[in-house]
């Protein structure tokens, strides 16, 4: 029994405490406040809303782990979505076949990765601050998108894309399946591959990692390229869900993805943080939003409560570490 507990503990890690407790608190509070909360409808709506924000959060997670930030995520997603949209339109719009969709998706992911590669190269070779590099990339991509679309919508996609945004497979929403596959891919990447190991190492100490013989530049470029590719997947899902591409879609998600990462116990300076706690943090955010919706509040109040939750978790973490330190001192 103890072995199982230990195994679960190492599996979940210390980062799990914050989001785990928040999850229990949210379920408890809203479960008591509203009888409809613990119903299939709530979890259904959460399951459909989670993937958009979740995929973008995954894209944000990797750069944060290296001690950086990718502020261009939402616009990378939309530019990638635009790429797919054009490939579909060039191949007959509503009549486009699955082949065009596949080609478009591959191109979209390449476009997303390309924007990541540019940022990665600038960050790795000039040592400019990632916030600034990704910020200028964000301004550039937003401008590019507005220039290309004149600020309007691009729509008119084949009908088979609908299920990708709204359909279910064996009762599980398809966007959610895509998201969960991506969560597992990211988890595998970070916990089982050399690239993942190096990502953590760079976040902990870039110089030491470089001296140990790791090609840190290559790792940084790869991390931003993967981040861009994940944005593209988010862009494809968003295209299917809204049945249109507009350069402003999901703009408000930008800072919320950072919030979700920090809520999931990721260290703002990089080096520490895992995928599963971030996933739980995302579920907490969506449950909060759905719960508040049920008791009659709107999305804006949910945004405020998300901010309060982040501040509260940080304050609690501070109190907990302080308490632990004084506790240890008393013992010794």
């Amino acid at each position: 029994m103890n072995a199982i507990v230990e195994r679960v503990k190492t599996l979940l890690g210390p980062e799990m405490a914050g989001p785990g407790l928040a999850f229990l608190a949210v379920v408890l509070v809203f479960g008591l406040a509203s009888p409809q909360f613990l119903s299939a409808a709530t979890f259904g709506s959460v399951a459909f809303q989670l993937p958009e924000l979740g995929l973008l959060t995954l894209a944000m997670l990797l750069p944060i782990l290296t001690g950086g930030l990718n502020l261009a995520i939402t616009f990378t997603a939309n530019i990638a979505g635009l790429t797919l949209a054009w490939v579909l339109q060039a191949n007959g719009g509503v009549d486009a076949g699955p082949g065009a969709f596949l080609l478009g998706s591959v191109l979209a992911i390449l476009v997303g990765a390309a924007s990541g590669v540019i940022m990665g190269l600038v960050i790795a070779f000039t040592r400019a601050h990632p916030i600034l590099v990704s910020l200028s990339m964000m301004i550039f991509l937003r401008g590019l998108g507005e220039f290309l679309t004149r600020g309007g919508d691009v729509s008119g996609f084949p009908a088979f894309l609908g299920p990708l945004g709204h359909g279910s497979l064996l009762g599980v929403p398809i966007p959610l399946i895509v998201f969960i596959v991506c969560v597992f891919a990211w988890n595998l990447l970070l916990s089982r591959t050399k690239l993942g190991f190096n990502t953590y190492m760079i976040g902990s100490n870039l110089e030491a990692t470089r001296y140990s013989g790791t090609n840190t530049r290559k790792v940084i470029v790869l991390v931003y390229a993967l981040s861009g590719a994940m944005c593209a997947i988010a862009g494809i899902i968003m295209l299917a869900r809204f049945n249109s591409v507009r350069i402003g879609h999901g703009e408000s998600y930008l800072l919320i993805t950072v919030l979700a990462c920090f809520l999931g116990g990721v260290n703002p300076f990089g080096g520490f943080g895992r995928v599963i706690p971030v996933f739980v943090a995302l579920v907490v955010l969506q449950l909060l939003s759905s719960g508040l919706n049920l008791v009659g509040a709107n999305q804006h109040l949910a945004t405020a409560v998300w901010g309060l939750l982040l501040a509260g978790v940080m304050v609690l973490r501070f109190v907990a570490t302080k308490f632990k330190i004084s506790f240890v001192r008393k013992e010794t």
């Binding site: 916030i131 507005e146 950072v258 703002p268 982040l310």
Partner: protein, 333 residues
């Protein structure tokens, strides 16, 4: 002069770039090189410069703030409502209310950062969401157009009719901007507090051991930005003649880009008022020039983003390598 060039590399190169752009624009467009256009530029950039010098102080102190633009929106609303209660009395009361509201909101950030050791970007992202969410919730996204007359009346401080019959004018925002810029300059270069802010931003632990009050530094830096955000918010309301809850949403990142373009370092201890103002002006001038050249407004952001990206790449690949003579002369001295 040489020493100025080597110690102010960013400012000098920014000035050079601005002059180059101005030269090109004066030749290619008919209207750029005129006093009227220069004054227009100043009027338009005022609010951003007020925000920028406030953010500069926080960056120098080693922090970062995402929430100031939203805080400015909260201040606009709060001030408009408060003025409604007390029956708008005039600029002095407006600035006092807006300033103190701003300082209050800045102090919330400083409190979270100092008392609970929350990293400034985390603290300000959470307050960003709190301020914006609550503002949109309570206002339901409704704008206020019913502002006191003294707030919406254009205050022209200087006007002059040009030979071709057009009027040039300097309006109140410019005056307020100049006062804010000078006040910030005095604060960070002419006072002990300013020295301490630089020291704190450069090396917080060293500053603490040297006896600098860390808490006071955080409250001064974020309080100053709050003050500037409050004043900037009020001036923006004056300029736009309305209060729209999400008008300033997203402005924080544009201002941040401009300030860092001006040589402030994310990480603290570096940055100057001159560079900061030049950074904002470079972006405004580019935008203005593109406009006069007849480039589609949809392309503005794209070109500006590309310029910033190139500027960062160049400025980080050490200025000495690009200007070999500067470093050689600097080394021989």
């Amino acid at each position: 002069m040489r020493s100025f060039v080597s110690t102010h590399a960013t400012e000098v190169s920014l000035l050079a770039v601005i002059m180059a752009i101005c030269a090109v624009l004066s030749v290619t467009t008919a209207n750029f090189f005129s006093l009227g256009n220069a004054f227009d530029l100043l009027n338009i950039s005022s609010v951003n410069i007020i925000f920028a010098v406030g953010l500069l102080v926080v960056l120098i102190a080693g922090g970062i703030d995402i929430s100031f633009a939203v805080a400015a929106s909260v201040v606009q609303y709060g001030t408009a409502i408060a003025l409604g209660w007390i029956g708008g009395v005039g600029w002095v009361s407006g600035l006092l209310i807006a300033g103190s509201l701003g300082i209050l909101l800045g102090a919330v950030n400083a409190f979270l950062i100092h008392r609970f050791r929350v990293i400034s970007i985390v603290a300000t992202i959470s307050t960003f969401n709190i301020y914006f969410g609550l503002l949109m919730f309570f206002t339901k996204g409704v704008s206020i157009y019913d502002l006191p007359d003294w707030l919406t009346d254009r205050v022209v401080l200087f006007e002059h009719e040009m030979p071709d019959g057009t009027w040039i004018e300097i309006t109140l925002p410019v005056l307020v901007m100049v006062i804010c810029v000078i006040a910030t300059w005095v604060l960070i270069t002419r006072t002990t507090t300013g020295r301490q802010l630089y020291a704190f931003g450069d090396n917080p632990e060293g500053a603490r051991r040297f006896g600098i009050n860390i808490g006071a530094m955080q409250f001064i830096a974020f309080g100053w930005l709050g003050l500037m955000a409050g004043i900037g918010g009020l001036i923006q309301a004056h300029y736009a003649q309305e209060v729209v809850p999400n008008a300033l949403y997203g402005r924080e990142l544009d201002v941040l880009a401009a300030v860092v373009l001006g040589g402030a370092r994310l990480g603290g201890g570096k940055g100057s008022v001159l560079g900061c103002v030049l950074g904002v002006l470079l972006i405004s001038i580019t935008q203005n020039g593109l406009n006069l050249m007849g480039v589609s407004p949809f392309a503005f952001k794209m070109i500006i983003g590309a310029i910033i990206l190139v500027a960062i790449t160049l400025s980080n690949t050490s200025i000495e390598r690009l200007l070999p003579f500067v470093s050689q002369k600097g080394a021989s001295r």
